[in-house]
């Protein structure tokens, strides 16, 4: 059948080299090859944003990206947010807890990664800018209002 392809991807600072089938999605690679299960999949056709990760710093759908396409890339997932040494949560994660920005939490890793990108590029976003940035992430539980509040809280904490 398919020949495997050598693929090297750096995830959350660790370099992984694997032989993978060309049809393997980056999401499945992260979840099932590397056992980084924090990146979830909700639709596998690019609509829900649940699978969002950062590829070379840009948010991307890991369900629509093949692992082989990410060869040589730096990927950041939700597992990369926490402080490695102390295990302390990232201020964005803490803000989602404090402002009740999640219910079932299945969509949350996608929102966190999108927020990470947003606040890096725009530390003081308006509500409309927050909504614009999160427009590609579905949440079936919260109705989004508390997510916007979480992002606002995270932004203010990150600004110090």
């Amino acid at each position: 059948m398919t020949t495997r392809q050598r693929t090297t991807i750096t995830v959350n600072g660790t370099r992984y080299e694997r032989e993978v089938e060309p049809r393997l999605s980056l999401a499945d690679f992260l979840r099932h090859e590397l056992h980084l299960g924090g990146t979830h999949v909700g639709c596998e056709h690019g609509v829900c944003g649940v699978c969002t990760v950062l590829i070379d710093g840009c948010s991307a759908r890991s369900c629509l990206t093949l692992a082989v396409q990410a060869d040589g890339a730096e990927v950041t997932t939700v597992e990369g947010l926490r402080d490695r040494e102390s295990g302390r949560l990232h201020p964005i994660q803490q803000a989602f807890i404090d402002a009740h920005g999640l219910q079932c939490g299945f969509c949350t890793p996608g929102f966190l990664m999108t927020t990470l990108e947003l606040l890096r590029d725009n530390p003081e976003p308006s509500d409309d800018e927050i909504r614009e940035a999160l427009g590609g992430n579905l949440c079936r539980c919260t109705g989004y209002q508390s997510i916007v509040e979480s992002v606002r809280l995270a932004a203010s904490r990150l600004r110090g």
Binding site: C43, I97, L134, N137, L138, G143
Partner: protein, 798 residues
């Protein structure tokens, strides 16, 4: 009310907005959703599904699939006929096996399945399976199902009617005959559904040595699904173990009856290796347990000249889809718990017909039955207001059940516990600045804009009970929910429950009660779930009951512990039992509060110093409590009983604008005031409300499972099924009223389904208020641009 229940001088957690103990794992991405789990030797399942809505199966040959490298087992209709029974349904006898055995009845129905060493290989193997079909004429709609000579889905029943039942409450014919005003309308509610972001998934392992089954998965009501599996798979119930994993939302029918049976049987055929099945979104949209409420209504409301509502008649034809596996009779019967909404309507009739068609089977969805019912009732109230020339808010107020009338028994039999509907309405109108809003609307209309306002009130039956459903074939009174509170030798407390995370935050509620009861920090209380064979009797999330049920059960268990711990303390201090009280975490002497013992000291003594215990006392610092709603009774022949324990209520005020050119509806203002009694954790209640509003907006404006005239589904991705994004869900303005429930420990009422009862009605009523000057009305959901645009055309616009 909270204070009376808790032995503490200062309540720190119950009723407070505390952050959730569930959250650290969820934001860290470390919570073990089912697809994160793997067992040694695990195989992966893929399911071959029918491309036909209705066809006889002539032949299935799965052998070519077995030849593919990596394929370990296949499952065929043959196997299933031999090894399994048809699914449980309500009413009985309208179900099918997990794989179609004789014929397929909907597109997406499983026909064969494969277990292989990877999902990719399993899916490759599906292409090798040969199936020969003989297409049959499909039944695409409820009307076709009822037509003379219609093709039959279940030939043995001689009809496509699952159940037909008329309920009569009071003198309906008389009040309609004597009415000064009768308003009528038909309504069509199209299918929508739960669509949690996580689809269903499971890992099943059949232990061939002792013929037992373990099912790990996203099971919403674990013991219920376990029991159902024991029936479909011919196993004693104590040989089926369901291990519920945290769920990425559920909102109804999460539990994968068919998929679990398939994975279980594949495991059995694969020599007992575990088999994982993860439903993909396309499978969910096609044939997952996620389509609900396919309804055709004819309804009428009778009023006297002064605007007093006197009678309500509702005729419902409900398209259940291809089987009755979704317990749709419950969905149809649930409105009995709040049939006449917030109003003093004296008589009512409910005429129900449930049919099968070749659409996918329907399933429970948040609210279960009332959301479409309230669209009908509230739309009739608006029609009446328009006809009588009365403001819709005013007409409602005139007919509300008065706050002094509670407990109030409605014609369909349920007893509402408490409420103050006028206070909720007043607050909502004030928050919305209603008079100013109407002025804005008048100005907009003058300018030729299509702006509409609605004021809609509904009741949310809380705390589901089986007794509501005896008349539709589901027997029972009471829904037990058990917890076990365990104190270890060092005084650490764990609460064991029988359900898993789903998003509402019930672990936190359990911890709030324990922490306040024993004077602990919230974070020190651990809440964990047990498999069905180890957990106390339980049901889990469903029917807006778990917050009330869990808080009550935990309180009951804490009280039992308190009694035992006091006994130990009294014995040790050598004082009479009633001299010892629990206060702020210490078992102390009433006369000398400084003398006493901590929780840890008593627990340590119990487990480590049997010589110091009262004679005959068990060293057992744990207690179980199984709670069920008090005062429930069996229904009479018209379904009347005290069914749901609590009745929350809400009023929504909504302003919308319709684009004259495109028919697109935009929500300009959304105000919610609700009353669900004591709010055990206000932030979580708010989250339930806002989340349900999002789903309600979806149902009212965007979401629809569309079928063509041959019963072929046209919705297979999120590109076709339009889930509301952050741009579609309104920013709501919220406030609340608290009328504690006199029937629950803390005064809380069920509130999980909440706004989904109200939002669809509120949005559609606002749309119709916008359309009213044009002389057209929308009587079908959702109010998609196309549907509204057609009406605009009809009115000479667009």
């Amino acid at each position: 009310m909270i204070r009376d229940q808790l032995p503490t001088s200062q309540v720190r957690y119950v009723g407070r907005e505390v952050t959730r103990i569930e959250d650290p794992g969820l934001v860290a991405g470390s919570t073990q959703f089912i697809d994160n789990l793997a067992l040694p030797g695990m195989l992966h399942c893929a399911i071959l599904r029918s491309p036909h809505p209705h066809a006889r199966i002539i032949r299935v040959n799965a052998n070519p699939a077995l030849a593919l490298d990596g394929v370990v087992a296949v499952l065929t209709p043959e196997d299933v006929r031999r090894l399994a029974n048809p699914a449980l349904t309500a009413p009985a006898g309208w179900g099918t096996h997990c794989l179609a055995t004789d014929k397929v009845r909907f597109v997406g129905e499983p026909v064969a399945a494969v277990a292989a060493t990877s999902r990719h290989i399993a899916e490759d193997a599906l292409e090798l399976i040969e199936v020969e079909y003989e297409p049959l004429p499909p039944v695409a709609t409820a009307a076709e199902a009822l037509a003379d000579g219609a093709p039959l889905l279940f030939e043995q029943h001689g009809s496509n009617v699952i159940q037909a039942r008329v309920y009569d409450w009071g003198e309906v014919d008389r009040v309609f005959a004597e009415a000064d005003q009768v308003v009528r309308s038909s309504f069509r509610w199209n299918r929508v559904g739960a669509n949690p972001t996580e689809t269903f998934g499971c890992i099943c392992q059949w232990d061939l040595a002792d013929n037992s089954l373990s099912c790990y998965g996203s099971y919403q009501v674990p013991s219920f699904w376990g029991l159902a599996r024991s029936i479909s798979l011919n196993l004693p119930a104590n040989k089926v173990r369901v291990i519920s994993q945290p769920m990425g939302g559920a909102f109804g029918g999460k539990g994968g009856a068919r998929a679990t049976d398939i994975a279980a049987l594949l495991s059995r055929k694969a020599g007992g290796r575990p088999v994982k099945y993860i439903e993909d979104r396309m499978e969910y949209l096609l044939a997952g347990f996620g389509q609900s409420w396919d309804r055709h209504y004819e309804a009428a409301l009778a009023l006297t000249a002064d605007g007093t509502m006197t009678g309500l008649r509702v005729k419902l034809i409900d398209d259940q889809g291809a089987t009755a596996e979704g317990y749709g009779t419950i969905s149809v019967a649930k409105p009995l718990a709040a049939f006449t909404g917030n109003y003093r309507i004296e008589a009512a009739r409910y005429d129900t017909t449930l049919v099968v068609t070749n659409r996918a089977p329907t399933a429970p969805y948040r609210g279960y039955g009332p959301p479409p019912h309230f669209l009908v009732l509230e739309s009739l109230v608006d029609l009446a207001a328009r006809q009588l020339g009365v403001d819709p808010a005013e007409l409602r107020r005139r007919n509300y059940i008065g706050k002094e009338q509670f407990p109030y028994t409605i014609p369909s039999g349920n007893e509402y516990d408490s409420g103050d509907y006028a206070a909720v309405l007043d607050k909502a109108l004030a928050l919305a600045e209603y008079p100013a809003l109407r002025r804005r609307q008048a100005e907009a209309r003058t300018a030729g804009r299509l702006v509409g306002i609605s004021v809609v009130s509904t009741v949310e039956p809380g705390v589901f009970d089986w007794n509501a459903y005896a008349t539709v074939g589901v027997q029972g009174v009471g829904v037990p929910e058990g917890v076990r509170v365990v104190v270890d030798i060092l005084g650490n407390v764990t609460v064991v429950v029988g359900f898993n995370l789903q998003g509402q935050g019930q672990y936190t509620i359990a911890a709030q009660v324990v922490a306040d009861f024993f004077g602990l920090e919230l974070g020190a209380v651990r809440v964990t779930t047990a498999p069905t064979d180890l957990a106390p009797p339980h049901f889990g999330q469903g029917g807006s009951r778990l917050g009330v049920a869990v808080s009550s059960a935990v309180l009951g268990a804490c009280r039992k512990l308190e009694a035992d711990f006091r006994r130990v303390t009294a014995h040790l201090l050598g004082v009479p039992l009633d001299e010892i009280e629990l206060m702020d975490g210490r078992f102390r002497m009433k006369s000398r509060p400084d003398a006493g013992m901590s929780l840890a000291e008593v627990a340590g003594l119990m487990l480590g110093r049997s010589d110091l215990l009262p004679p005959g006392m068990e060293p057992n610092p744990q207690a179980s409590c199984v709670w069920t709603a008090p005062g429930r009774n069996a229904p009479d022949d018209q379904g009347r009983c005290r069914s749901y324990l609590t009745a929350a209520n809400a009023t929504h005020v909504v302003m919308v604008e319709i684009d004259r050119d495109t028919g697109h509806t935009e929500i300009l203002k959304y105000v919610v005031v609700d009353d669900c009694g004591t709010r055990l954790n206000p932030a979580m209640v708010d989250g339930q409300i806002q989340g349900a509003i999002a789903q309600g907006v979806g149902a009212a404006l965007y979401e629809e499972y569309v079928y063509d005239g041959q019963a072929n589904p046209l919705v297979t991705t999120f590109v076709d099924y339009l889930m509301p994004t952050i741009h579609e869900v309104p920013r709501t303005e919220r406030d609340f009223v608290v009328t504690p429930s006199p029937t629950t420990a803390f005064g809380a009422k069920g509130c999980g389904e909440g706004a989904l009862h109200t939002t669809p009605a509120a949005v559609i009523c606002a749309v119709n208020d916008a359309l009213a000057p044009l002389g057209v009305a929308l009587t079908e959901t959702p109010a998609s641009p196309q549907r509204v645009w057609r009406l605009l055309r009809q009115a000479g616009l667009g």
